[in-house]
């Protein structure tokens, strides 16, 4: 029941937005709708924990199924486990904050808020789907609006970026679709995730389908070498779209890699794990070094996202319960942190009309609130304890180290080494833009954050602190389900 509400609230909100005329009413409706959604997500979290505490050991909770397209065996089958609950909570927080940060959008506000809410419906649907076709449907729902958001409300070379992003993500989804069809026929004409998991896919077919699905979803999560949509896309996108793109959309990919590729094809996951680890290690270190050279704040965060999402893939590739749990935590953490980072960059850009590190400077004096926000985002990015990035990264490292052997150890050390490079680029960026002397006298007259920006920053920071200070609730949520996924890995390293 709660899942129905969860998917219907954004859809109804989107419809209501279409009926309203006054831009003020539009944004208020969008805000109320997303706030309600956050409340529902919190209720879901509470309900989920209560069920588990009561001893409900079913893999998926709040399951429900309706026939959708019976002749093809497609059903509206939804349900959540701890991983999905965590992702839903992330989506609700990021969307609410994205709407708050776009409060004063001038150009076609109605269409803007409509697309954002519509996108979020796609993300929610994706995370609760237990039917692969349904999942794919929602995935596509979450791609197309992004094209419009960037092409219409974007900045810079927005058409190029929007095209690139849409085409690359579409290419990824095409690969996923082919893979899904392969599974559909192999499992006896069903798209049902649980049934396919039960039936199993023959190992030979797995080796064929796994790369398609993993790479397909990998494009979404900016896996090296399919990550280049990210820097251009992020830099052209409006703030809320950047937040959504990096905060949620990249997580669709990670979630898909885990839920569809690894869970349904455990043998192939083992077979290809070395390749995933290699690509992830490259992304982590290469992304970090590439970030070091960027001069535009948005490019810095976009490249650092490539590096940080490398941890997600590294955790998945390592195939231990702890590492996979770390990957999920990294998804949540990175989603919050990068949303905060993009929001702060957006606030700075709105006021100074530049994102070039070299042109900013001394913002701590003129924009103290915003500077503290970007500082916290930066510290989270470089893995400061007390903020969410640290717990996620450490879980990945400890989980990775459980694999014996020089290959896995080397990859883990590469991952660890990136924390130094991250510190370098984050401190360089912050040192030049937020600290230092004021370079432009005009900045002395800037207005610090308004109420909506303060509220949204506070929500994101609170969420980051909630994970950073008390990570055990998140671990409780995701660890058992990572264990379930890893149980299917034959001979997998048990903790």
């Amino acid at each position: 029941m709660i899942l129905h509400i969860l998917i219907h609230v954004p859809l109804v909100t989107a419809l209501v937005l279409l009926l309203l005329r006054d831009p003020r009413q539009v944004r208020l409706a969008a805000l109320l709708g997303s706030a309600l959604q956050l409340v529902i997500s919190l209720v879901l979290l509470w309900g989920y924990r209560a069920e588990r505490k009561a001893g409900n050991t079913a893999q998926m909770l709040f399951e429900s199924m309706h026939e959708w397209y019976p002749s093809l065996g497609i059903n509206y089958h939804v349900g959540v486990d701890g991983i999905a609950v965590a992702m839903i909570l992330l989506t609700a927080i990021v969307v609410l904050c994205g709407i708050l940060f776009s409060w004063n959008v001038q150009q076609q506000p109605k269409e803007f808020f409509f697309l954002i809410v519509f996108l979020s419906a796609g993300a929610y649907g994706f995370f609760i789907s237990l039917d692969l076709f349904l999942m794919f449907f929602f995935l596509e729902l979450a791609v197309i609006p992004k094209y419009l958001l960037i092409a219409i409300w974007g900045s810079g070379k927005k058409v190029y970026s929007a095209n690139k992003l849409a085409l690359m993500l579409m290419g990824g989804s095409a690969l996923v679709l082919v893979g899904l069809l392969g599974m559909y026929y192999s499992a006896g004409n069903t798209f049902d995730l649980m049934k396919i998991a039960e039936a199993g896919i023959p190992p030979g077919l797995q080796s064929l389908l796994f790369p398609m699905i993993f790479i397909g979803f990998g494009v979404f999560t900016a896996m090296f070498p399919f990550h280049t949509w990210a820097p251009d896309g992020h830099s052209s996108a409006p703030t809320a779209a950047s937040m959504f793109l990096a905060g949620i959309s990249m997580k669709l990919g990670g979630y898909g890699c885990l839920r569809v590729a690894t869970y349904l094809m455990p043998e192939a996951a083992q077979q290809y794990s070395w390749l995933i680890i290699v690509l992830a290690s490259i992304a982590i270190l290469y992304g970090a070094f590439a970030t070091m050279m960027q001069k535009d704040l948005k490019y810095i965060n976009a490249y650092s996202s490539v590096s940080h999402c490398g941890f997600v893939l590294l955790g998945i590739g390592m195939l231990t319960t702890t590492a996979v749990a770390g990957a999920i935590m990294q998804m949540v953490s990175h989603g919050l942190m990068t949303a905060l980072f993009f929001a702060a960059i957006g606030m700075i850009y709105e006021r100074t009309h530049t994102r070039q590190v070299g042109e900013l400077g001394g913002l701590l004096k003129t924009l103290p609130f915003i500077s503290v926000v970007i500082f916290i985002a930066g510290l989270c990015s470089l893995g400061l304890p007390g903020l969410s990035g640290f717990v996620a990264e450490m879980t990945v490292f400890v989980g990775s180290w459980q694999n014996p052997g020089a290959f896995h150890r080397t990859a883990t050390i590469i991952g660890c080494a990136s924390i130094v490079v991250t510190a370098v680029y984050i401190l360089r960026a912050l040192g030049a833009s937020v600290m230092g002397p004021i370079r432009n006298e005009g900045y002395l007259r800037l207005q610090d954050a308004a109420w909506n920006e303060k509220l949204a920053s506070a929500i994101l920071i609170l969420a980051i602190l909630a994970i950073g200070f008390a990570p055990f609730w998140l671990t409780d949520l995701v660890m058992p389900d990572s264990q379930l996924i890893m149980n299917k890995i034959i001979g997998g390293v048990s903790p």
Partner: protein
């Protein structure tokens, strides 16, 4: 009573103060300082109470001080065995450290009420001080190897924030970045060391880990010593890497380059963080894992000893020629920490063999007092002169009599003249080195002489030498305000009294009391060396003269090496700028734009051209379609005819 509930307040009060000041500090104005000071005052009183309870009431069992886990919560479970716990571990060193940290922090809080008065970001300063105090207390009380790492990073970031406190000064920003990045690099080693120890030890809990890794029969110890890499056992790797983290924080060669630059921070911060507490975290870390070092892995302990001794000597040599008074003190800190390190390095574990351990902790204790005093005194001088350079000073004894006397006390203490505190701890260190490793002993002895030389060079240059001539017209104030003098006087007293604490009775490697005796015949040698150093400094710097100048000309190349800090900074700059940026960063960014993204764009261009080429087919002209249609039909017809025939 030693209940975890109220002991937890010791770190949590400063944390609460951090949040309060961070959120509402701006509106509090001057009250912010009082709030911060009040919270640390309560923490300090609780710490003294805990120390009393531990050392005199509950700590001992069968005459041996035991480790008490007063509090433990699972914070982040990784797997069945391995989890990060947050808790409180009481043993002689952690109890000693909370006393030192809260006491020095309290002195610095009080001192800053005067020193930072009128500062625009006064409340932010106190917020950061509170954050630091919280982190440092969490570090020393840690019951879990990963808990230490967490607070380790937190003290690192507090240090970063405080060094960069004057954020509009580019040099301060550069120094704060340097401090953070260099220690981060060291922490990379620490982290990998933790991963190794946790993997083989199958726990992160200190008492369990130490017990397992020191018991020759335990499967964990056998596992970790048989596994290896490059012919070195995993245990050695683990411990040396952990020590790398400690060396970074404690500014040991070659990771010391951040400490002198860190003096860009406000002087009270230098006293607290970069002299008395945070920089000794590395020593504390080695001491925390000392049983494992001493019993299972003496090789790693040798590394500690030689790195410590070398750093002590190197820093002392550099300190002789620096003219920035805070930098001289920074190098002397590095040198004294080197003493603590090699004292641990030459120490054994059991009974009398553990003298080095006791001596090291004792020196940590006394050093915290007199080094904090030196920095706070230097702060008072800088406050008065508005310059860090000793060439701008001289003759200040007439202007600042209290600072003069307390500074003298601290200099005598660090030089090792009886009955000041440094003498007792240094004498123990030298005894321990003498009985263990002669090379280290002689290095230490030479360093002791150089130490007293450069400290009195500093002392005479500030307070004697030429007459003081103020350059500006703003010198209407005399000696520093009472809030600054009170901490000086209290620390001055401690710099005398701390030496008389029967330290071995309370802190020893194996927990059983160690009775140390004064060997006056032996100690004549270090005293003589120290007096020689003082005499040399007195001849050269008591009155303004040409002697130092002529001497530096005579030994020009040695002087330049020392003055330029042996060019270590330049080497680092070369490696980072030329190698990391130009050979790794630039190519990565270039490849990404041109090769990886180039492929993407090429695909797009090829697709576009291809569609451009074949788009003629979709012309919409019926005649065109008809031609293609009939050609196709004829083609297929021919094909089928050919295949069938």
């Amino acid at each position: 009573m030693l209940s975890g509930k109220y002991i937890a307040l010791i770190p949590l009060l400063p944390l609460a103060s951090f949040f309060l000041l961070g959120l509402f500090g701006r509106r509090m104005k001057g009250a912010a300082g009082m709030l911060g000071t009040a919270s640390i005052l309560v923490s300090a009183m609780l710490s003294f109470y805990v120390a009393y309870q531990y050392f005199f009431v509950y700590g001992q069992a069968d005459g041996v001080y035991r480790q008490i886990t007063a509090l433990k919560y699972t914070w982040l479970p990784f797997s069945e065995n391995i989890s990060i716990d947050m808790g409180i571990l009481l043993d002689p060193i952690s109890v000693m450290m909370i006393v030192v940290v809260t006491f020095v922090s309290l002195m610095v809080h009080i001192y800053s009420l005067g020193y930072m008065k009128g500062e625009e970001r006064f409340s932010v300063f106190y917020a950061f001080l509170s954050l630091f105090t919280f982190s440092m207390l969490g570090l020393v009380l840690a019951c879990n190897l990963f808990q230490i790492y967490i607070f380790w990073e937190l003290v690192g970031v507090s240090s970063f924030l405080l060094i960069g406190f004057y954020y509009d000064k580019p040099s301060a920003v550069a120094a704060s970045k340097k401090a953070f990045i260099v220690t981060r690099f060291a922490d990379l080693g620490f982290l990998i060391g933790i991963l190794i120890l946790a993997f083989y030890g199958e726990t992160l809990d200190f008492p369990t880990l130490i017990q397992r890794l020191t018991d020759p029969a335990s499967s964990q110890l056998i596992g970790i010593t048989t596994a290896g890499f490059l012919g070195v056992s995993a245990l050695t790797w683990g411990l040396v890497l952990v020590f790398m983290g400690g060396a970074g924080k404690s500014a040991m060669f070659p990771l010391h380059i951040w400490l002198p630059d860190a003096m860009e921070g406000p002087t009270p911060v230098s006293a607290l963080i970069h002299a008395a507490t945070m920089v000794v975290a590395g020593v504390f870390l080695v001491a925390r894992l000392f049983p494992v070092f001493a019993i299972s892995c003496p090789v790693a302990l040798d590394v500690v000893a030689y790195v410590g001794a070398f750093s002590a000597l190197l820093a002392a040599l550099i300190a002789c020629t620096q003219t920035d008074i805070k930098r001289v003190l920074a190098y002397s800190t590095m040198s004294q920490i080197g003493y603590m390190m090699f004292a641990l390095g030459v120490s054994g574990y059991y009974a009398e063999g553990g003298l080095g351990y006791t001596a090291s902790m004792f020196h940590l204790f006394t050093h915290a007092m007199f080094k904090a005093l030196l920095f706070l005194g230097a702060g008072a001088v800088i406050h008065y002169v508005h310059s860090n350079d000793m060439l701008d000073m001289g003759g200040l004894r007439k202007h600042m009599p209290v600072t003069h006397i307390t500074f003298l006390v601290a200099c005598l203490a660090i030089a090792g003249i009886p009955p000041f505190a440094g003498f007792f701890s240094k004498e123990e260190i030298l005894t321990a080195a003498f009985h263990s490793d002669k090379t280290v002993f002689y290095v230490a002895l030479v360093t002791a002489g150089i130490t007293s030389f450069y400290m009195f060079r500093l002392f005479f240059s500030i307070f004697w030498n030429k007459e003081y001539r103020p350059h500006g017209a703003h010198h209407h104030h005399g000696e520093a305000p009472f809030s600054m003098l009170a901490p000086l006087l209290i620390l001055g007293l401690c710099s005398v009294a701390a030496g008389f604490v029967p330290f071995g009775n309370y802190v020893s490697a194996d927990g059983s009391p160690l009775h140390t005796e004064m060997h006056w015949d032996f100690s004549m040698l270090p005293i003589g060396v120290a007096l020689a150093g003082i005499l040399a400094a007195m001849l050269m710097y008591r009155k303004a003269s040409e002697v130092p100048h002529r001497l530096s000309n005579a030994m020009r190349s040695a002087y330049h090496w020392s003055y330029n800090k042996f060019y270590i900074d330049e080497i680092y700059l070369f490696v980072t700028k030329k190698i990391i940026f130009n050979l790794l960063g630039r190519p990565a960014a270039w490849i990404d734009r041109n090769v990886v993204d180039g492929l993407v764009n090429t695909t797009a261009v090829v697709t576009e051209n291809f569609s451009e080429a074949i788009r003629g087919m979709q012309s919409g002209k019926a005649q065109g379609y008809a031609i293609w249609f009939f050609t196709g039909v004829i083609g297929f017809a021919l094909l089928f005819i050919y295949l069938w025939m």
